[in-house]
Structure formats: C-alpha cells, structure tokens
C-alpha cells in the first residue's frame, strides 16, 4: 500500500468551488433558516472569486445546492443578459457542470438580484435572492447587536412608526423596494430590494426561497407555504407599483412589472423587466413553439 493509493488525485478546486467544510457549514445554516422562517442566521461567509456586494451571498448558497443535473438561471434586475448575471452564471456552470438556461420554467435553481420572475415557480424549484442588507431594522437601528435583540423581542414598533410618519408626511407609504414583511407571523425580514410588485409572490408560495447576504454574513429563508405579509395598517392597504396597465413596447405584453425608458421627446417607453418573458412573448408572436408558464399576476392583478 502506498500513500498515493489512499488519497485522491490532486485537483485545483473542489466540486462547486467551495470546499466541503464551507458547504457543510452553509447546509447547517440553511436548514436552520428553513426551520425558523425569516430569522437571520449568521454564517462564516467565505471569500469567493467575486467582490463582496456582487452576489457573493447568493453565490455561496447556489454553489452549495448545485449538482451536475442542475439547470441554473441567473438574473440581475430581471435580465439574464445583464453583465453581472452573465458572469455569475458562467462561473456557476464552469465549477459545477450544471446546464445554463434563461427560461424560468426550465430552471431548477434561480439566483436573482432584485426580481422574482413573473412566471410562477413550482415546488421543484429553488429561488436564491441576493441580499445587500439583510436587516429590515437598519433604517431605525444601524447597530447590529441591538437589532438582533429587537428581533428576539419581536420589537418592531419603530418600523410601524416610520410607515405611519410616511403616511402623515406624504399621504402614502413611501417605502420603495425591500418592503419589510412579517414571515410566518414572527420575524420581520427584508425581502431584499425586490419591488413591492414581487413581495406577494413569496406568500404561501410552492417554492423554497433562500435570501443570502455574503458581505453581512446572514442568510434566511422562506420555506414553501409560509405566510409573508408586508407590514400594513388595516385601513391602508398594501400598494404594489402602479404598473398593471403599462404595456411593453417590445413584446406588447401588459400587466407585469416594467422598466421605464426615458425618451427624447420627454415621454417614457416601457419594457418588461422580466426580460426572458418578453423574449418568449416575441418569439411566440413570431410563431415559434415557445411555452409561457402560468404567471403570478393575471391581467395585472395578483389573485387573492
């Protein structure tokens, strides 16, 4: 017997880049996150070959979930061809052998920055949201150890207060993206800076969502069929962006979240933010055999 027969041949990197000890720690924290929905779990958050703030938290979760049979989609602001999405997607497939896709219905893993696709996710799909700031209490309490205590006490009064102040000052809730939401009736989380349009897609969803902040070293989860309720007053209903009546100037689709493109003449044109949904709609109109999956919103409305 020689030492060579007892060891595996040397390889430049582990499968899926992260070494086994990093993956083990992440899996433990991911399981904990599922067990306590919406509660932020601190994790070591290893350095990865990308800069912090560029999706390193989402990347670590995705790298841990990847297997050779995975089909992976990566979007940034809704677009598959955005430069950073392209960079992350090619890294993921390079280190895992997983197949790349742009089609939401085909993907098994979807890593996203700031959007949830418009097509409904199924129970066999996992959504990984990149999170810049995991702490919904940051605007009222920048100190992380104090904020942690406030979560433990479910002390969310100051969050309600800023919403109330916004209504008093501006006549409406002024929170844009990253709308604070109560998960499973216990922990307030930030759903990451997804638009308000996307938050209802997390409520009682069939799919599992991980939210991971690499720089801040926190991950949390929304398991399937979990309540996700935006913080609202009973007499001031939750308002998504006023996009229901907008039409995409490229695909002709109406009733989804749009990007606004300022025009030379002072007006605005709109295009679907979910870029591949737009591509599919255009190709379908051209007669290609493309299937658009059922969408969360129907005629610009989220069915109750």
């Amino acid at each position: 017997m020689t030492i060579a027969t007892l060891t595996r041949p040397w390889e430049a990197m582990s499968y899926g880049f992260l070494d086994a000890s990093a993956k083990r720690e992440l899996r433990r924290k991911m399981l904990k996150a599922i067990a306590v929905p919406g509660c932020q779990m601190p994790y070591a958050s290893r350095e990865v070959p990308m800069a912090r703030g560029w999706g390193t938290g989402g990347l670590q979760v995705t790298l841990t979930l990847l297997k050779p049979s995975s089909v992976v989609k990566v979007i940034d602001q809704g677009a598959d061809d955005s430069v950073n999405a392209a960079s992350i997607r090619s890294f993921l497939s390079k280190v895992s052998g997983a197949r790349e896709t742009w089609d939401t219905t085909e993907a098994t893993l979807i890593q996203s920055r700031h959007r949830i696709p418009e097509e409904r996710l199924r129970a066999d799909q996992v959504l990984i949201l990149q999170v810049p700031n995991p702490e919904p209490l940051r605007p009222v309490e920048p100190n992380m150890s104090v904020a942690r205590q406030m979560h433990a006490d479910a002390d969310y009064g100051r969050l309600w207060l800023i919403l109330y102040e916004q209504i008093v000052r501006s006549g409406r809730v002024m929170q844009g993206a990253a709308y604070p939401s109560l998960v499973n009736g216990r922990h307030v989380m930030t759903p990451s800076p997804i638009p308000r349009w996307d938050v209802p897609k997390l409520h009682m969803a069939q799919h599992l969502t991980f939210l991971s902040a690499g720089r801040e070293k926190r991950l949390y989860a929304v398991p399937p069929f979990t309540r996700v309720e935006p913080l609202v007053f009973s007499d001031v209903p939750y308002q998504v962006e006023d996009h229901a009546a907008l039409t995409c100037h490229r695909s002709g689709m109406t009733g989804y979240f749009m990007n606004e493109i300022p025009q030379e003449d002072g007006s605005s044109a709109f295009e679907l933010s979910d870029s591949h949904l737009g591509i599919k709609a255009i190709r379908q109109a051209e007669g290609a055999a493309v299937k658009i999956g059922p969408t969360w919103y129907e005629n610009g409305k989220m069915p109750q």
Binding site: A51, Q77, V83
Partner: protein, 353 residues
C-alpha cells in the same frame, strides 16, 4: 438606447477584462520576483490584510491586480479560504519573538533596552531624483554594533504587571482546536477576544488609520502612549503527527501595545498584532482596542463600528457594487414618489395668529 448598449452579456465582460489586462501586459515569474524583492512593505501589508503569509503568492496577486491593493487582497483571500487547515501552530509569547525592533515611548529606557532596528522614522524624506538621471542609489552599509542586541526581549507589560500597574488576569489555557477562527465563523457582538484580535489583524490599513486617527485626535476617550512597539519574526511551531514539535519556518509579525490611565486606577492596554511589518496599522488598531471598552454605540471607537467598517474585502466590494444597475429599486422609489405627488396633500399646519 444608450443603456442597452452597456449590457451585452458575456462578450462585453470578456472584452472589458481583456482591455484591463492588456494594460498590465505579460506577467511572468521575473515580474513577480521583482515585486517581491522591491516592495517588501507592500507585500507585508497585503499578506496582513489577506491573513495569508506567503510572499510569493502576495507578489503574484499584486502583479495580477496591477497593484490594486483591494483586488490583491481579495485574490489572496479567495485562494486562502479554499485551502485546508492542516494544523494549528503553538501560541507565541512576546519574549519568544526573534525581535528586530522594539521601542517604548512610555519610559526613557526599558528592561532589555530600546532597540531601534530598521526604521525610516528619523530619515529626511528627500526624493533621490538622481536615480532618474542614471545615478543608482546605493544604501550606505550598516556598521554592526560591537555587541549585538539579544534576539529575545522581555515584554514591558510583564514588568508593569509585576509593579501592579496593569491588571494581570489569569491566563486561560485553550486547546488549539478550540481557538475561535474568524475565517470559519461569523463575527458576532459582543465579539470574542480572539475574533477581535483576528479581525484587527486582517483589517484594512487605511481604514484602521482613519478611525484610529479620529480617536487620537479626540473622538476617543483615551490618549494612547506607545507602551511597546515590536517588529519581529515568530517561529511557527507545529506538531508532527508522530508528536514531535518542530519549527516550520518564521513569519514576520508586528505588534503594538498602547496604554492609558484607566478609570480603575490601573493602566489599561490596547493591543494589535498582524502578519508582516506594518507599524501604522498596529498602532491604529491598538488605539481603537484601547478606546473600545465602554464606547458609546455608533461611535467610531465602538468595537462593532470599527471592526465592521475596516474589513477591506467587504468595504471595497460594497463600494464598487454601486456600479451595478439599480434600476428596479429606482423604479420602485419613483413609483412611490409619483404616487405621493398625486395623493391629497396634507393640510398645512395652522400657525397661531
């Protein structure tokens, strides 16, 4: 459609990277060797912030990043984190360090003596412009002292402890495997002492100086006196699987201990050490450590504040991430803004006549 042109996916990012690398040209072993030889202080700084002691890899990272320090540190950290931890070296005590330089500002002379060692502190900072005119600069050779200073020096704090000037808490023996490791665990607050010191050791030199300097100028409570500053080499003593303890080599380390009169009536100490020789970093770090106990939440000398904000990889990454598109978030805010404009304006407050 100017914006759409900045997308373009994989081809665009590939070409953009090529454009950057074209500027740096060919990187070969000779360039890396020259960087290692010519820039030892920079190598030390990068190794400290990367918490990886490997001068060749540090020189390679600097070459590959074209001298961008944050990029070089990220390259090394990303490489380091995938490497297995083979063993944990034995702790090194101050009096076991192979000391090159050791000074104290607290006393005129100290047991073991003031040893200046290599320093530019008293040099006149004149640019040797002759070099550019073809006259190479040759450093004047050192005249060795008749009796060399002893390689090992006692710790000044040990003398102060014996005098009853400094609190001397009992040392707790921790098994090597039980020493908390910041690179394998998240930093939580209140931080474990080991995490604090590890975090200071790998902190960004410039960031630590900025916050440390703010404390020195008066935004901290304690004025630091340099109790002891040391540049040294530490023996990396590890245990062979058969049980023999042996030295795997030496690493350059720097450490600073600063002191100030505490409320307890004793001297209080702040401490910082790092891999490589980097005096500005350890003095700044020790000053922050000295000021940390009891600091107000949100003040720059509060531990959570300075440890979070001097993390070079996190801070630089987040700063450059603002270059990424944010149009979805922006659209969402725009919608709220327009909604507020059309909502019934609130009644103006009635001013009493």
């Amino acid at each position: 459609m100017a914006y759409v042109a900045t997308r373009g996916g994989e081809r665009a990012i590939d070409q953009s990277e090529r454009l950057y690398r074209a500027e740096l040209g060919q990187i070969d072993a000779a360039r890396v060797a020259e960087i290692r030889l010519a820039l030892p202080m920079l190598i030390d700084r990068v190794m400290g912030e990367a918490s990886l002691y490997e001068p060749d890899l540090a020189a390679l990272a600097l070459a590959q990043a074209g001298g961008d320090l944050y990029e070089a540190v990220l390259l090394l950290r990303a490489w380091r984190t995938t490497q297995p931890r083979l063993t944990i070296a034995e702790p090194v005590l101050q009096d076991q360090l192979f000391t090159h330089r050791r000074i104290s500002a607290a006393f005129k002379d100290i047991p073991g003596g003031q040893i200046l060692g290599p320093s530019l502190d008293y040099a006149h900072r004149l640019l040797a412009t002759g070099v550019l005119q073809g006259q190479p600069y040759m450093p004047t050779p050192v005249d060795p002292a008749a009796t060399p200073a002893p390689a090992h020096q006692p710790s000044l704090a040990a003398w102060q402890k014996a005098q009853g000037l400094v609190a001397d808490p009992a040392r707790t023996e921790v098994a090597p495997d039980d020493i908390p490791d910041l690179t394998r665990e998240p930093l939580l607050f209140p931080a474990q002492r080991a995490h604090t010191l590890q975090s200071l050791a790998r902190a960004d030199t410039g960031g630590m100086l900025a916050l440390g300097y703010s404390a020195m100028r008066g935004y901290g409570n304690a004025h630091p006196t340099v109790n002891e500053l040391r540049l040294a080499e530490a023996e990396v003593r590890v245990r062979h699987p058969r049980g023999t303890v042996f030295s795997a080599g030496r690493v350059k380390v720097s450490q600073a201990e600063v002191t100030s009169k505490g409320k307890s009536g004793l001297l209080e100490l702040g401490f910082c050490a790092t891999l490589g020789w980097n005096e500005v970093k350890v003095i700044s770090g020790a000053t922050l450590d000295l000021n940390a106990p009891g600091a107000a939440k949100g003040s720059p000398v509060e531990e959570e504040f300075f440890l979070y904000h001097t993390e070079p990889v996190e801070a630089s990454g987040f700063c450059i991430h603002f270059k990424l598109p944010h149009y979805v978030t922006f659209q969402s805010s725009l919608d709220a803004l327009r909604g507020a404009k059309t909502a019934t304006p609130t009644q103006p407050e009635k001013v009493p006549a």
